[in-house]
C-alpha cells in the first residue's frame, strides 16, 4: 500500500483574501513620475503651468487603467474616483493661488507711503493715492458696525433668552434667513429708495452706505451670536438664578461674557464680509476724488468702489489708473485677510477652555 502524500501547493493567504493588488508604491510612484515629467516639460519645453497641471492629471488617469488590468473593475472605479476627487481639490486651489499671486504681483507696484496718504484730488495720470477711499471705507463700515451690532446682538438675546420659541421668534428666524439671501445690490437700492424719500432724487451719502451694509451685516451677527449663546451651558444660568440674580444681570454678567469670544469672532467675520461690498456703495455712497469725513454730506469714496471705478474709467493713459485699482484691491484683500486672522486668533485664545 503506497500512500502518496500530496503536499498542497503553497497558498498566498493575502492574495486569497484580497485578490490581486497593485503594489503599495504604485500610486505614489505614478504620481511622482507624472509631476517629474510635467516639471521637466515646464522647465525645458516651455509648457505653461495650466498645461503642466493637465499633463499630471492625464498621467494619473493611467492609475485606474493599470488597476483595471490588475485588480478588476470595482477597484479601478474606486481609484478613478480618488483621482477625480483629489483633482477637484487641486482645481479649486488654482483660482485661490492665481488670485493671490495676480493681486500681489500687480498691486505691490504702487504701494508706498504716498499711496496711503494722498487722495485723488486734482490727480491726472501718475501719482495720487487711496487716502480718501481708505477713510471712507473705515467710516462707512464703522458706522455700519455701530448700527448692526446692537440690533443683531439684542435680537439674538431675544431669540435665545426671552422668546421661548413663540411665533414671533419663528418669524424672526425665518426672516433673518431671508435677509442672508438678499443680494447686496438690492440692499443698496433699498437704502437709496429710503433716502430718496427724505432727501430727494440723486441722493448720495456715506451713511446710506452704512444702512445698506447693515442690512447685509445684521443677519450674520444675529446668526453667529445666536449660535454662541446657545452654546452657553444652562447650568450657568441656573446657578445664577439660584443665587437670586435677576434675569437681565444673568444675561449681561454671566451669559454674554461666557460667549464673548465667539460673539467677537462672529462680528469680526461679519465686518470682513461687508467691508469688501461694492455694489451697495456704488449706488448710494457714490464715488469722489476728494477726502470726505462727513457721513451725512455728499459723496464718499470707498476702497472697493475706487478699485472698480479706476478699472472702469481709467482715463488716458490708462495704465496708472489700472495700477491704482490693483493697489486698492491688494489693500482691501490685506484688510479682509487681517480681519479673518484676528477672528481666528480671538476664537483660539479667548474661548472658554473648560467645556471641551
Amino acid at each position: 500500500m503506497t500512500t502518496t502524500t500530496k503536499t498542497p501547493p503553497p497558498v498566498d493567504v493575502h492574495r486569497e483574501l484580497y485578490g490581486a493588488q497593485l503594489p503599495i508604491w504604485g500610486p505614489r510612484v505614478l504620481l511622482g513620475g507624472a509631476v517629474v515629467v510635467a516639471a521637466a516639460l515646464y522647465l525645458l519645453a516651455g509648457v505653461n503651468i495650466m498645461m503642466a497641471a493637465l499633463i499630471v492629471f492625464a498621467i494619473s488617469l493611467l492609475l485606474p487603467i493599470w488597476s483595471a488590468v490588475v485588480e478588476g473593475r470595482r477597484k479601478a472605479t474606486d481609484r478613478l474616483v480618488t483621482v477625480l476627487v483629489t483633482s477637484s481639490f487641486v482645481l479649486a486651489m488654482f483660482p485661490l493661488f492665481s488670485i493671490l499671486y495676480t493681486v500681489i504681483d500687480k498691486g505691490t507696484k504702487v504701494l508706498g507711503v504716498d499711496f496711503f496718504t494722498f487722495s485723488m484730488r486734482n490727480v491726472v495720470g501718475e501719482g495720487g493715492g487711496i487716502y480718501h477711499a481708505l477713510a471712507g471705507t473705515l467710516l462707512i463700515t464703522g458706522a455700519a458696525t455701530l448700527i448692526s451690532v446692537p440690533i443683531g446682538m439684542f435680537t439674538a438675546i431675544y431669540l435665545v433668552e426671552y422668546s421661548d420659541g413663540n411665533r414671533l421668534s419663528r418669524w424672526i428666524r425665518f426672516l433673518v434667513d431671508v435677509m442672508t439671501g438678499i443680494p447686496s445690490i438690492v440692499a443698496g437700492l433699498f437704502a437709496y429708495a429710503l433716502f430718496v424719500l427724505f432727501f430727494g432724487e440723486g441722493v448720495r451719502m456715506g451713511i446710506g452706505g452704512s444702512v445698506a451694509l447693515s442690512v447685509l451685516m445684521i443677519p450674520v451677527v444675529v446668526r453667529s451670536t445666536e449660535e454662541m449663546l446657545k452654546l452657553v451651558p444652562n447650568e450657568l444660568r441656573e446657578a445664577s438664578y439660584a443665587l437670586g440674580v435677576p434675569k437681565w444681570r444673568t444675561v449681561s454678567k454671566v451669559v454674554l461674557p461666557t460667549a464673548l469670544a465667539g460673539i467677537v469672532t462672529g462680528i469680526t467675520l461679519a465686518i470682513a464680509r461687508v467691508i469688501g461690498e461694492t455694489a451697495p456703495l456704488l449706488i448710494i455712497a457714490g464715488a469722489t476724488d476728494s477726502v470726505n469725513f462727513n457721513l451725512f454730506d455728499g459723496r464718499m469714496a470707498s476702497l472697493p468702489v475706487f478699485a472698480y471705478a479706476s478699472q472702469r474709467n481709467p482715463g488716458v493713459p490708462p495704465e496708472f489708473s489700472i495700477d491704482r485699482a490693483w493697489g486698492a484691491a491688494l489693500t482691501l484683500l490685506l484688510i479682509v485677510m487681517l480681519l479673518n486672522l484676528i477672528a481666528r486668533l480671538v476664537s483660539y485664545f479667548f474661548s472658554p477652555k473648560g467645556e471641551r
Binding site: 472605479t77 474606486d78 480618488t82 477625480l84 476627487v85 483629489t86 477637484s88 481639490f89 482645481l91 479649486a92 486651489m93 485661490l96 488670485i99 495676480t102 446692537p150 440690533i151 439684542f154 435680537t155 438675546i157 431675544y158 426671552y162 422668546s163 421668534s169 418669524w171 424672526i172 425665518f174 426672516l175 431671508v178 435677509m179 439671501g181 438678499i182 443680494p183 447686496s184 445690490i185 438690492v186 440692499a187 437700492l189 433699498f190 437709496y192 429708495a193 429710503l194 432724487e201 440723486g202 445684521i218 435677576p246 437681565w248 470682513a272 469688501g276 461690498e277 455694489a279 456704488l282 472697493p304 478699472q311 472702469r312 490693483w326 484691491a329 482691501l332 484683500l333 479682509v336 479673518n340
Partner: protein, 315 residues
C-alpha cells in the same frame, strides 16, 4: 385680623426695571428686523411701481418694462445656471476630499484654505476675471468655435477679449464654491459612522461606501447647498459687471461671443450712475424682480433644509 391673604404675597417673582428695559430692548430689536425687511420690500415697491408703469418714451432705454427686463432675467438665469453646473461637481469633490479622503488632521487646514476663497471681495474677483482669466480663456474660446461650433452654445464668433458670459460664469462658479463646499462638508461629516463602517465591512470600496452611505444621507443637503449657491450667483453684481462685455437686449444661448446679455444686478450697477427720472424707477423695479427671484430660490433651499432636519432626527 392681620392680612395674611394679602394679594401681593401671591406674586412669586419681583419684576425689576432692569429686567423690563432689557427684555424690552431685545424684543424691539427683534421686531425692528421685521420692520427692516418689510421696509426693504415696501420702499422697493414704492419706488419700483412707477418704473413698471413708465411709458417707453419716459425712460432712457425707450422700452416698456417687460421687454426691457426680460433679456436681463434671461442673462441672470443663464450665467447663474452655468456657474451652478460648473461648481456643483467640484464642490462635492472638494467636500468629499476634505471630509473622507484627506488625512483627518489636514482636513481642517484644507477647509480653511477653501474658506479663504469666500473672504476675497467681489471687486477683486472682478479684477482677476478681467485681468487674468479673460485673456487666458480667449484662445480656448477660439478653439471651441473652430471645433465645436456646430453646437449653438459655441456658435461664435469667439470673443477676442474673452469677456464672455462663460468667463463671467466661471468667476461666479469660483465665488459660490466655498459656501457650497462648506455645507456639503458639514453634511458629509455628519454621516453616521455606523453606516460607513457597515458598508466597508461588507467589502465596499471607498467609492462604493460614499455612494451607498454618504450620498443618500446627504442628498437633500447637497440640493440645498446648490440652491444657496444659486441664490448667491443670481445676486452677484460686480464680478459680472466688470467681466462681461454687454450688448443690451441680447437673448441668445451663445456663450463665447462678444455680444452677451447682461444680468439684472450688473445692469443696475452699470446704469445707476447716469440714470435719472423714471429710469431710476425702472432700475429699482428690476431690482425688485431680482429680489423676488432670489427670495424664491432661498425659500426653496430653506424648505429642503428644514424637511431634512425632521427626518434626520430619526437617525
Amino acid at each position: 385680623m392681620t392680612s395674611t391673604l394679602d394679594p401681593r404675597r401671591k406674586r412669586s417673582t419681583v419684576v425689576r426695571p432692569g429686567d423690563r428695559i432689557f427684555s424690552g430692548l431685545s424684543t424691539s430689536a427683534g421686531i425692528l428686523i421685521l420692520v427692516v425687511l418689510a421696509g426693504v420690500a415696501a420702499f422697493l415697491t414704492i419706488e419700483g411701481v412707477p418704473g413698471v408703469l413708465a411709458s417707453p418714451d419716459e425712460v432712457k432705454s425707450g422700452q416698456s418694462f417687460l421687454p426691457y427686463v426680460w433679456p436681463l432675467v434671461f442673462g441672470t438665469l443663464l450665467a447663474a445656471t452655468i456657474a451652478l453646473i460648473l461648481a456643483v461637481p467640484v464642490a462635492i469633490g472638494v467636500a468629499l476630499f476634505i471630509s473622507h479622503y484627506s488625512p483627518r488632521k489636514l482636513g481642517q487646514v484644507l477647509g480653511y484654505l477653501i474658506d479663504l476663497l469666500a473672504a476675497v471681495p467681489s471687486v477683486v474677483y472682478g479684477l482677476w476675471g478681467i485681468g487674468f482669466l479673460a485673456p487666458h480663456m480667449a484662445p480656448i474660446y477660439q478653439w471651441l468655435e473652430d471645433n465645436l461650433g456646430f453646437i449653438p452654445l459655441f456658435a461664435g464668433p469667439a470673443s477676442a477679449t474673452g469677456r464672455t458670459i462663460l468667463t463671467a460664469s466661471i468667476v461666479l462658479a469660483v465665488m459660490i464654491l466655498p459656501i457650497m463646499t462648506a455645507i456639503c462638508r458639514e453634511i458629509f461629516l455628519q454621516t453616521p459612522r455606523l453606516h460607513e463602517e457597515a458598508a466597508l465591512a461588507l467589502g465596499a470600496t471607498r467609492w462604493e461606501m460614499a455612494r451607498m452611505a454618504i450620498f443618500p444621507y446627504a442628498r437633500s443637503g447637497i440640493v440645498s447647498a446648490a440652491m444657496l449657491g444659486l441664490g448667491r450667483a443670481l445676486g452677484e453684481t460686480l464680478a459680472v459687471a466688470m467681466v462681461l462685455s454687454v450688448s443690451v437686449g441680447t437673448v441668445s444661448p451663445n456663450l463665447i461671443s462678444s455680444t452677451n446679455p447682461s444680468t439684472i444686478a450688473a445692469n443696475i450697477a452699470l446704469s445707476f450712475g447716469e440714470a435719472s427720472g423714471k429710469t431710476v424707477n425702472v432700475l429699482i423695479a428690476s431690482g425688485l424682480v431680482l429680489f423676488v427671484i432670489t427670495f424664491l430660490v432661498n425659500f426653496a433651499a430653506r424648505a429642503i433644509v428644514d424637511r431634512r432636519k425632521e427626518f434626520s432626527g430619526a437617525n
